[in-house]
Amino acid sequence: MPLLTLREAPPERLDFLAVNPLALSGLSQGDAERLVVGTTRRGLVLGDCFTVKLDGSDTLTIAGGHARLDRVGASLTEGAIRVEGDVGQRLGAGMTGGTLTVTGNAGPFAGSGATGGTIRIEGDAGDHAGGAVHAAKVGLDGATLVIRGSAGDCLGDSMRRGLIVVERAGAFAGARMIAGTIAAGTVGDHPGYGMRRGTLVVGGHGALMPTFVETGALDLVYLRLLAKSLRPLSARHADLLSGAPKRYSGDLATIGKGELWVAA
């Protein structure tokens, strides 16, 4: 298993876009150590901060994460990356496949624009997890994002496709959603602000906007399929849909084809 071991705290933010198991498998030890990961004029390379051990397999372990490691797994297409520690912003941004696991916390914009694969964050995620970066049209775009801890504000902002499972989320969860699904133990104020389509499933929520209208406690066939798809990721989130959850339709300030399900 290829292994990157952090030797010391990076002196600047690092961009890990070029680091993935597939790319490393084609590099010699020297070339891998000379991969440029710095973001300043200093020209920091991978070998400056990490001990590099290669073996060509498709699972990369980064032992010792740091909040300055940005875009970890952003170019992942297959295989797996496991980070033992924290990561910085844009974790797995734009990734198209594979499995990305972070045992610590992630910075903002985790999973932004990711079209495939699964991202797991064992700790907390920052603001805009699964959300669109500034000036981008879409956030999460087909990947699955699982956050075991809590997420910040604007979770899944402008997400277009895919699934987010989170324990707790801040305000404006699912804001401006184009489509997709978010399942959360609890969310803060104004969930689904400006959402067009998409599904929010929550155990509890903060203040709701007046542009969400209650449509009753409905037992739809769709909920069975949704619960089935959630169960492998989190049985607790799947159970939010049992009983007869209360449905709100919104955001009626937009086309209003989104929905908020609140556990019974």
């Binding site: 489509a179 409905l218 037992d219 739809l220 066939v221 069975r224 399929l225 949704l226 089935k228 798809s229």
Partner: protein, 313 residues
């Protein structure tokens, strides 16, 4: 008739001939409901008036009842098979039948029931009934493969319908057996037993009423313009005329017709029916078993009864 019989099975003469069948487009649909009863109501209505492609546009039947564990949404369900001449005609019939019989039926949802090379748009067409309020949802199924569903608002909640189904390659329509009997009641009983055995084969249906057809046909007719007319060679009232194939003791002929998703399905189903019918044949006055063909030039698939007499292929 008598001079052509060279074979016997369980003491019943079996004519040494073949059933001639055709390549058709076939698909499967799973319909589910909160109760098995309502799933069956939906399936029965959808497969109604679907005995012959020529007159009904499609041939359809119920393949199997499904337990909640076997359906995508964990509710009781029914697997329907639908056959047409070609995928476009099948699509037209599928949309009409789902639109009129499944969409309308309280509580029913519809899913693709078979994999195959040809996509047939289903929910993606019916969604227009939702008048712009319908939404699509992609969800992974039990195997992890993502499937797309349409959720169409209706008065009891939502009609959930898979975006598309698939038509299989290699579906065959028109496998058949003819049972020559002495009395109507006895021959019907033999045919019923044959239908039960034939229908038990997975992926095979018998589209006629109760699986049985009494008006077997030949190609063309004496009246100008008739594409098909009565199979006079097997009509008991026409016995004794030139061309009649019925022995004097035969007073009734009933036919079963089989469509299946594979040629093997037709063959298995015919074999099961032939064995089941001949086993009870002696007790019910069965005179002989034969099969219908058009001389072998119209259909690509020939199922020789000689080959079906062996228990296994």
């Amino acid at each position: 008739m008598a001079e052509m019989t060279h074979l016997t099975l369980n003491g019943i003469p079996v004519e040494d001939t073949f059933a001639e069948a055709f390549d058709v487009a076939g698909t499967a649909l799973i319909v589910t409901n909160d109760t098995a009863r309502w799933a069956m109501i939906a399936a029965t209505v959808m497969t109604g008036f679907a005995t012959s492609v020529i007159g009904c546009g499609a041939e359809a039947g119920i393949d199997a009842e499904l337990s909640p564990e076997e359906t995508p949404d964990g509710r009781p369900g029914v697997r329907i098979l639908l056959f047409g001449f070609e995928p476009n005609g099948l699509k037209d019939q599928l949309i009409k039948r789902v639109g009129q019989c499944i969409l309308t039926c309280p509580g029913t949802a519809a899913y693709a029931g078979v994999d195959g090379p040809t996509k047939i748009k289903l929910g993606g067409a019916i969604r227009y009934f939702g008048d712009g309020f319908a939404v699509a949802k992609r969800l992974p199924d039990a195997t992890g493969r993502t499937r797309r569903y349409w959720r169409i608002p209706v008065m009891d909640g939502e009609f959930l319908c898979e975006d598309f189904v698939r038509a299989v390659d290699g579906a065959v329509g028109g496998g058949n057996l003819l049972f020559l009997g002495r009395t109507h009641a006895d021959t019907l009983k033999v045919a019923e037993i044959a239908v039960e055995a034939a229908a038990a084969v997975p992926g095979a249906i018998l589209p006629f009423p109760g699986g049985i057809v009494r008006s077997g046909s030949k190609v063309g007719g004496r009246t100008k313009g008739m594409m098909a007319s009565t199979n006079d060679a097997y009509c008991p009232t026409l016995k004794g005329r030139a061309g009649s194939k019925l022995p004097t003791e035969c007073n009734v002929v009933l036919e079963i017709v089989i469509d299946a998703l594979t040629s093997q399905g037709v063959s298995d189903s015919m074999r099961a029916a032939l064995h089941a019918a001949t086993e009870v044949g002696a007790a019910h006055g069965l005179v002989a078993v034969t099969a219908g063909n058009y001389g072998g030039n119209l259909g690509r698939h020939h199922y020789h009864l000689r080959d079906l007499i062996a228990k296994e292929a």
